[in-house]
């Protein structure tokens, strides 16, 4: 459909004793989120770091927007690519605002434009600029630090965002919340995101395309759907795990199956409906339904008004469909 923005063309990286990445061929399209996943040492981080030349390939080349990425100085390239890492790496001696504004500063933006951009980005990642711009990184929680890390990566409005296990060090609740935030932010900024993780849930939740790697080789590169239902080999099947039905539910947004409905007549006085937000998935809806004795679940919009219903019968039909696919494959 659209032009590939990043192309791996026969990329190999060997270190003295071992091959980290072996003849990688891959295309990532504009505005997509591509998640690299695999066990430790599979070459996913090396692949990511070769995009902005923190690692140089031994052979092969990487094209960005059709141009080899080594056609300019590495610093020029990197300033056009956002970079978020697990350790966050905020500069302790600078304020939040100075951290976010550092790439614009390197690019020589005027001060007022930097200030405006910083406030805009802090708001985007869910931090109040008035409260946070003059704080120091050590005054923030881990989750807040990574929000600043994302804002900093987006500062110069780069078309590409590289994220190397950005939520790996956070507690599960914060991680979940930041994943939701990233989805929301991506709807606004529409970047091409290359994301590395070892968490299959995270991959399925965030990815348009998942690249599964093993021992430096690309095993399968496909949509989350296809990875779930048409695993290329036993390794992928094992990696995806046994609860494919649940994971597949996590790919279906509630708005795609909800029925419109008024709260009044369908809301008998003796029970309170469970609710899920419009942005949730059927997996969330199932959890909500189970918690409420498998009754109908209300879908509410941002203002808390009922936007529709997930009927018990509809939910069970979807479940049966998925189960039959599970049996078939």
């Amino acid at each position: 459909m659209s032009q590939p923005i990043i192309v791996f063309d026969g990329v190999t990286k060997t270190y003295a004793a071992k091959t980290a990445v072996d003849n990688l061929n891959l295309e990532i399209n504009h505005g997509q989120t591509c998640v690299f996943i695999g066990p430790s040492g599979c070459g996913k981080t090396t692949s990511l770091r070769m995009i902005n030349r923190l690692v140089e390939p031994t052979s092969g080349r990487i094209l960005i927007d059709g141009k080899p990425n080594d056609s300019a100085r590495p610093e020029e390239l990197r300033r056009q690519i956002g970079y978020v890492i697990q350790g966050v790496g905020l500069f302790d001696h600078l304020t939040v605002a100075q951290n976010v504004g550092i790439v614009p500063r390197l690019l020589g933006w005027p001060k007022q434009r930097i200030d405006e951009r910083v406030d805009e980005l802090l708001t985007l990642v869910g931090l109040d600029p008035a409260v946070n711009r003059n704080k120091f990184p050590r005054q923030l929680s881990g989750g807040e630090q990574q929000r600043v890390g994302v804002a900093r990566a987006l500062a110069a409005d780069p078309p590409i965002l590289l994220m190397d296990e950005p939520f790996g060090a956070l507690d599960p609740i914060t991680r979940e919340r930041l994943q939701d935030e990233l989805i929301r932010i991506q709807q606004v900024v529409k970047k091409t995101i290359v994301f590395v993780t070892h968490d299959i849930h995270e991959a399925i939740k965030l990815a348009d395309r998942i690249a599964i790697m093993r021992n430096g080789r690309l095993v399968q590169y496909d949509t989350p759907e296809a990875i779930l239902w048409r695993p290329a080999d036993e390794f992928v099947q094992e990696f995806v795990g046994t609860d494919r039905v649940l994971k597949a539910l996590g790919l279906i947004p509630v708005w795609s199956v909800m029925e419109p409905g008024e709260p009044g007549p369908k809301w008998p006085g003796d029970w309170t409906a469970s609710t899920v937000p419009v942005a949730a998935t059927l997996r969330d809806a199932l959890s909500a339904a189970i918690a409420n004795g498998m009754r109908d679940t209300a879908v509410v919009d941002e203002r808390g008004a009922v936007a529709g219903w997930i009927r018990r019968e509809r939910l069970l039909t979807v479940l049966e469909d998925l189960q039959s696919r599970e049996v078939a494959s």
């Binding site: 350790g87 790496g89 905020l90 500069f91 001696h93 990184p137 050590r138 005054q139």
Partner: protein, 413 residues
Amino acid sequence: MISRPDAREPRSQLAIVGAAATLGAAAGLPWIQSAPNPLALGSRFLVRNANLLSLIRDWPFAALIIVPAVVALIVACRRSPARAGWGLWTAGSLGLLAVWATSESIIAAGQASGTLARVALWGSGLWIALIGYGLIAYAGVLRLRRSPAANSQWLLLLPIVAIAAHAAWLIFYSEPAGNWLLQVFQQEARTGGIQRRIGEHLWLSAISTALSILIGIALGIWGYHRERVARASLYVAGVILTLPSLALFGMLMEPFSALARAFPVLRDYGIGGLGPAPAITGLTLYGLLPVIRNTYTGLKGVSAAQVDAARGMGMTGRQLMFLVLIPHALPVILAGIRQTAVMLTGIAALAQLIGGGGLGYYILMGINRASIAHILLGAVPAVLVAVAVDLALDWLGRRLTPKGLRLSKGVSA
């Protein structure tokens, strides 16, 4: 930890030691020594000595010296609130002034009446009493620092200013004194000798500290990039520091005189086997280790994540160094610089051994002439200069530490 003003404090052991030393010295050690000349063993006068007391009938001498120590002892022994810091501080400073003022009165009265011989010197008891009261005052300052109530810290400098002003008046404006120590100080100060030596001393230590900083930071940065350079330079700088300073200065004399023989023109610039050139070289070599070590460890202490993020966002090597690594390592580097500066200010006293000048001039002269007064004339300013340098760099270090680094991790505002 800041304690509440009404919290019970542990006993101030420092003040107890100070008070005990003062009282012991007043009870049994000689206060004033009197001799026909500086080399002769003179007669000793104790506080309880009737002759001595009779010299100053107008002064409640013993009480002035002893009462502040007794008060301090009582305050220090009670598990007193932080406010008692003021008590210790007042007792200590009053005691210092009393000891000094009474000793002057004794000597002046003694010489006027002919009871004391031409040369009078402070005895060991008087010195110990001065140190004891100094400890008491310092214990008070320490206690006040922990108390949030005491914000008027400038007031604490008052006795120091008073003593300095009094000393300046004695040395520059008072009548030539009978006190031998004061005589020597007066003579050297009024001929400009001591000022010149202090100037030389500061110049020697400042130049060599500056050179140590330049070379040390360069080696530290180089070592950050190449581990072998770091190991080699730290090893060599460590070996240099283990050499006795006299040996190092001696070893440098020969190359410098050879240099001056080969290029006689250098002599016009004061470079030769003797003089400031080998002294500054030796001091510079001595000062390298703290600067190299702290620069290297400071840079290495920057987290790998920050370095990776900086490179990943497109910083050049120079930007990484000046925008991230050095600001982050600055407090550690400054601590190394402070250590070097204080160390070199102290060792500069030995520069005179190879004709380098400085306050060592008086110390060596005092040793040669067996004159305590000359030794003190060199040693006291040398100590004061070192303490002043230390305090100044400590203040500077705290000022220059980025605010974001002063916060400990995980503190929310």
